[in-house]
Subunit: 387 residues, 2 copies
């Protein structure tokens, strides 16, 4: 019976047999999926003659929809026209959810791997590789005295970086569940920077993307715990979550970067910004290190209602805001989506800033706590820096 | 009906609803999979109460096997004990093949994404991140005069690289269907180098991983064609396949690397090695640039039986071998698996070397044209270099 089972498996799926000759496993998909049509609708197809129920679950608006079975066991669905963006999705088939087998391109967000595509033209043209001068991307390790560990971070160097000229630095922080790869992979930071700089919309700068999970050495799979350390939300990583260590010791990352790269070493030439938990980090890094930073960006910031703490790093927020303003804050930029679950707490925070007359810029977008918003905030925030 | 469908979908799969709050989509899998057991057997589990037939398709020996349905709709299978290695696999469910939803770790090989795991201890300990000094990894672009295009390559710099001391360089070439990310992702090159160097088994060196598809600028998804350029075997990429351009112009990559990094700039301190198509490339790069290289590695080399060509770069093989020997070849290392489909053509090539008395070292492994072999060849080859 096993023999018959394996025989039927081999018949159905030739590529399995090609495992013995790994690198030549040529893939020929029966159907084209996804197909981004000229009118910006997107057609999904899945060959699944035995399936009873098939759906697409995507991160565009109204992104959950059933596919309809057509001839020859091919299921299909076409969206309404979608705005230019990068979209992620998976297929639901009879109780299981997985990748689109017709699409080789994937992204991991926290613990889940998604298929993705672009609807091109407008915003997505910043996320795509264009024929412009390209910066380089590095992943390297620094010794963290605060944790006694070697930790990994990612760095974008602009195309003009030649080891002689000095550049300003944006420190860009990920959210809960993210790591030092999140802004590069999901945020498409290197492409956004290449394209903003090439179009003359942003000044050339270095972008540093550290790991904000102070209890972890690097991204899941990239630490000495290897695959035993699985991607989870940051509050599930043992030790040091919101104990102030990351914010208090952030100067050691700045020192490492200033020691390794040609940077402009003053507060006028340093920005810190982050999404969700990284927005929380960016706020307290700015407030505790006004000597290091003068530009701050909070993207859907993970602020905590009535947050109180005995820790120095989180205390005296009002006094620290006033000190930051006095020292000189070039930009304090807040952005959030109308549907974000953090909308109210961010509104309260703006009220706090208003009550003490602290100047800031505010951008309110549509939708919620989504990577499309964070990429779009980059297109608005980065052009304002270091000018 | 649509409403009822969507309602049932939401009930079954809560994470779908969390798309509106992307970064906080917490994943809680019902079952643990894969589980690497203390005796080096591996247990796979899949919650699929509606499935009729479930199997695992893995790249270990006898890697195709059915899962058996147990209580509560959980299917399960346990392998025999497996040797220490990195293994890739997918699940077959009623005619569809996809990732293990319990495993967040994936690797792309050509156009297919696989789940993967380690059986630790021996060889896999070199592929895993250990608590040793870590080198850095860079992805950057150089201008190729030969193609008139900017092209991307990957570079590993050893932990000791400080911008002052000079290091020898290994140029490491991927196979057909691969790109400048293949040796890093599937080959785990950075970890292998970190661990070989930390254990004192290899001298610190720079490793350069260019893109051997001379008609392509970078990996699929990383070129100006963006996702329109899908991962395929190299002979399906239009223009320039085996027209000699890559091998003839390889000096421009060496010049770029020597200009950007602190390298020891002589043939004694340069090696070129590659797998499959990259073995073919390494052979002809060595033979046409004996002034640049004195160490050569052919891993499951994609040699072509009775290969003839009018191109200078592929002609006069015997004379060029003799010239390489005369100039001084420190190591000419050939490795292949007993079951490799290229075994015979490699045997013929060794016969050709024997007939002219060209000295080489030969390693014959078990199994076929597989990444496990190419990683294992690295553990044997790299320690021989630059000594």
């Amino acid at each position: 019976m096993l023999k018959r089972f394996l025989s039927s498996l081999t018949t159905v799926l030739l590529p399995a047999a090609l495992f013995a000759q790994q690198n030549i496993g040529q893939k020929t998909e029966a159907v084209l999926s996804p197909e981004v049509n000229p009118d910006c609708t997107v057609t999904f197809r899945l060959y699944a003659p035995k399936a009873h129920k098939v759906a697409v679950i995507g991160d565009w608006e109204n992104g959950v929809a059933p596919l309809t079975e057509g001839e020859g066991g091919v299921w299909e669905y076409t969206t309404a026209p979608l705005p230019s963006e990068l979209y992620t999705y998976r297929f639901y088939v009879d109780g299981l959810i997985g990748l689109d087998p017709g699409n080789p391109f994937t992204l991991r967000d926290v613990g889940t791997t998604f298929s993705y595509f672009y609807v091109g033209g407008d915003k997505a043209s910043y996320y795509q590789v264009q024929d412009v001068p390209h910066g380089s991307v590095e992943q390297l390790w620094y010794h963290s005295g605060a944790t006694g560990k070697d930790r990994r971070l990612s760095v974008y160097l602009p195309a003009a970086y030649d080891g002689k000229k000095k550049f300003p630095v944006l420190y860009l922080l990920h959210g809960s569940g993210g790591d030092e790869t999140a802004w590069l992979e999901l945020g498409k930071t290197a492409r956004i920077m290449d394209n903003l700089i090439a179009r003359g919309e942003a000044v050339p700068m270095i972008v540093v993307m550290p790991n904000g999970n102070i209890g972890a050495q690097a991204a899941p799979g990239e630490t000495p715990a290897n695959l035993a350390f699985r991607p989870v939300m940051s509050n599930q990583i043992p030790s040091n979550y919101k104990n102030g260590t990351y914010e208090a010791s952030f100067g050691e990352i700045v020192s490492f970067i200033d020691g390794r790269y040609k940077t402009v070493r003053n507060r006028q030439s340093r920005a810190v910004a982050g999404l969700s938990m990284g927005g929380f980090h960016s706020l307290y890094i700015s407030l505790n290190h006004p000597d290091l930073f003068s530009w701050t960006g909070l993207f859907s910031a993970g602020l905590v209602p009535q947050f109180t703490s005995d820790l120095d790093v989180y205390s005296s927020r009002e006094a620290k805001l006033k000190a930051y303003e006095k020292k000189g804050c070039n930009l304090f930029w807040i952005a959030i989506g109308k549907e974000d679950f953090l909308y109210e707490v961010n509104k309260d925070f703006r009220g706090e800033l208003d009550s003490i007359g602290f100047p800031y810029e505010y951008h309110e977008s549509s939708r919620g706590h989504l990577w499309c918003n964070w990429r779009q905030y980059m297109l608005l925030f980065v052009p304002k820096l270091f000018k």
